[in-house]
């Protein structure tokens, strides 16, 4: 393939300069087009994503879903978007105008900025930062801020309660997520997203880091505020949560943010644990890599949609206990085991050389790490079993004690 065809945006500046533009103008136009493309893509995609989500949820619940506007109801969400834009824009009288209006913009920004470091293909990435993964973690923490600002500025008790839950949930689940992400970083020896994908050409990280992949998936579900962790907008308790006072397109922005965030979280799962764009022929034809990435993302995304439509919402104290008493300790033990095993395989000389793309060279290390992961899962299940058994016995002893106290009263009849 011609060099110029692989990434037209990379070669645009050179074309413009040869056409007579100044170097500054050429690079400005090049960067502007890149930024517009990368930020427009998820915004257009989200319209389709809402359709996919509604269809999947409908199928799970034995309904048809949207099927009136356009073929298969595909245009339903375009109609919805037009309706949202045309709706009256209300700012509540007691609201803090500036923060109230800034919150939806920051919410959307916090997701769009993540797309800057997503490696779409070997040749297409917004910016391959040397700290790409850390950038993703830092930017996602800004989303929390937007929801808090919305909750406070609305001057509504339900919105404020929703915002309180956000802090509890998002800040807590960030801890296991970041610890789980350390293991792919240990294996790849880099924080750059493109290098993390390249390190997986031989072996996807889901094999040697099975436990951290599961932890990352669960904590990502919580970070995006989706079922079963959708407590921030629990309709039955909080009416609508932090965005209760928002209407029209401002509400639309929060909704777009939620759907984009869910997709982005699954996209990052595919990038970090399922090899991103890697696949046969991806190096020669970068666009094929993009197709692989979208296919992998689609699989995890559909899985999360089915999960959303089937599981009930967890209670807030259960959710916090699950995070702090289960996910955080497990992720720390997992990190210690993985670091030890990686060091052992390196000392034994069976670890693959950095940049090794051969599948067989990765097998010994991945096998040892997978064994470590399976041992950890076995240990967790055993510990859960014995603690459940203890609770059950204690419960039995208590109810049995109650029965003996009740029986004399009942025996009088």
């Amino acid at each position: 393939m011609e060099q110029a065809c692989i990434n037209p945006i990379d070669t645009l500046a050179a074309c413009l300069i040869s056409a007579g533009a100044t170097a500054e103008l050429a690079s400005f136009v090049q960067i502007l087009i890149g930024v517009v493309l990368i930020s427009a893509f998820p915004l257009v995609l989200v319209i389709l994503l809402i359709w996919v989500e509604r269809k999947v949820a409908a199928r799970v619940q034995d309904r048809l879903g949207p099927n009136r506007v356009g073929p298969f109801g595909l245009l339903q969400n375009v109609a919805d978007a037009v309706k949202l834009i045309l709706k009256e824009d209300i700012t509540p009288a007691g609201a803090d105008r500036l923060i109230y209006n800034a919150a939806p913009i920051i919410a959307v920004l916090s997701v769009l900025l993540i797309w800057a470091v997503v490696p779409f293909s070997p040749a297409h990435i917004g910016a391959d930062l040397s700290i790409g993964l850390l950038y993703f973690v830092a930017i996602s923490s800004i989303g929390t801020l937007a929801i808090m600002m919305a909750g406070w500025a609305s001057n509504n008790k339900y919105a404020l309660l929703g915002a309180f839950r956000v802090v509890a949930q998002l800040v807590s689940y960030e801890v296991p997520m970041v610890v789980a992400l350390l293991i792919p970083v240990l294996l790849a020896g880099t924080l750059s997203m493109q290098s993390l994908v390249r390190a997986q050409i031989g072996m996807w990280f889901i094999v040697p880091c099975l436990v951290s992949a599961i932890i990352f998936y669960i904590s990502n579900l919580a970070e995006t505020g989706r079922a079963p962790f959708d407590l921030i907008e629990a309709e039955s308790e909080l009416v609508a949560g932090y965005n209760i006072e928002y209407s029209g397109m401002k509400f639309g922005l929060f909704m777009a943010n939620e759907f984009m965030h869910a997709f982005t979280a699954n996209l990052l799962f595919a990038v970090l644990f399922l090899g991103g764009w890697s696949g046969p022929g991806a190096e020669q034809y970068p666009l094929l890599g993009f197709v692989y990435l979208m296919l992998k993302t689609g699989v995890v995304y559909i899985f999360s949609l089915i999960l959303r439509a089937t599981v009930p919402r967890v209670r807030i104290d259960h959710m916090m206990a699950f995070n702090w008493k289960f996910l955080v300790p497990v992720s720390i033990i997992n990190l210690l085991i993985a670091a030890l095993l990686i060091q052992i395989t390196r000392l034994l000389g069976i670890a693959p050389a950095p940049g090794e793309t051969d599948f067989l060279a990765h097998v010994p290390q991945a096998f040892i790490l997978l064994l470590g992961n399976l041992a950890l899962i076995g240990g967790i299940l055993q510990a859960l079993r014995s603690s459940g058994r203890r609770d059950r016995l204690a419960e039995q002893a208590r109810t049995h004690g109650d029965e003996t106290a009740i029986i004399p009263v009942g025996s009088g009849d």
Binding site: D96, L98, I99, L129, S130, I131, L134, Y135, V137, A138, I139, S141, I142, T144, L145, M148, M149, W152, L160, A163, F164, V167, V171, E174, G189, L191
Partner: protein
């Protein structure tokens, strides 16, 4: 003389963000607004780290200061609604803080600006150091034996101590 290019422009944008944000923190009467201004100021600081070729510190600044500390401040303010609309801008200790602020500025001028830009100092267009450290080197320096392993461990102990202290304070007495 400063030449006008993208870097200078970015420097001034970040300078306005951080100084303007800091001014907003001390002048706004609404504590939530103050916290939002603080976030803007910290964001400007993160921009400076990027201009100084320290992207790791920039990301950590956003993650720790904006993502954790500023959010905790807002959370604390939210729980105390009566503090969100204060009548006066300054309290009785304003002269003390002004004195401390002036002293810090003086220290900055004597300690940093004079050695670099004063007589016999480095030229303005000469970098203070020509080393651009990567995240790898930063990590090695933290735990690599002779460099900064002791301060790093002491800081970790301090944080652990603070965490245990917070748990002890928040715990019910009978438990």
């Amino acid at each position: 003389m400063l030449e006008l290019n993208a870097t200078t422009l970015a420097f001034f944008v970040f300078a306005i963000l951080s100084v303007g944000g800091a001014l907003g923190v001390v002048t706004s009467r609404n504590l939530i607004h103050g916290a939002v201004y603080l976030i803007i100021s910290l964001f400007g600081g993160a921009g400076f780290f990027i201009l100084l070729s320290a992207p790791f510190l920039a990301a950590v600044q956003v993650l720790v200061y904006i993502g954790a500390i500023a959010i905790l401040i807002i959370f604390a303010v939210m729980l105390t609604r009566s503090m969100t609309n204060m009548a006066e801008v300054v309290n009785r200790q304003w002269w003390l803080s002004a004195l401390v602020g002036a002293l810090l500025l003086l220290m900055l001028a004597v300690g940093v600006i004079f050695p670099v830009w004063g007589d016999g100092g480095l030229l303005p267009n000469q970098p203070v150091s020509d080393q651009v450290a990567t995240t790898d080197e930063l990590g090695t320096a933290f735990v690599g034996g002779e460099d900064y392993v002791l301060p790093f461990e002491v800081a970790s102990l301090l944080l652990t101590g603070a965490m245990i202290g917070a748990i002890v304070l928040a715990r019910d007495t009978e438990a």
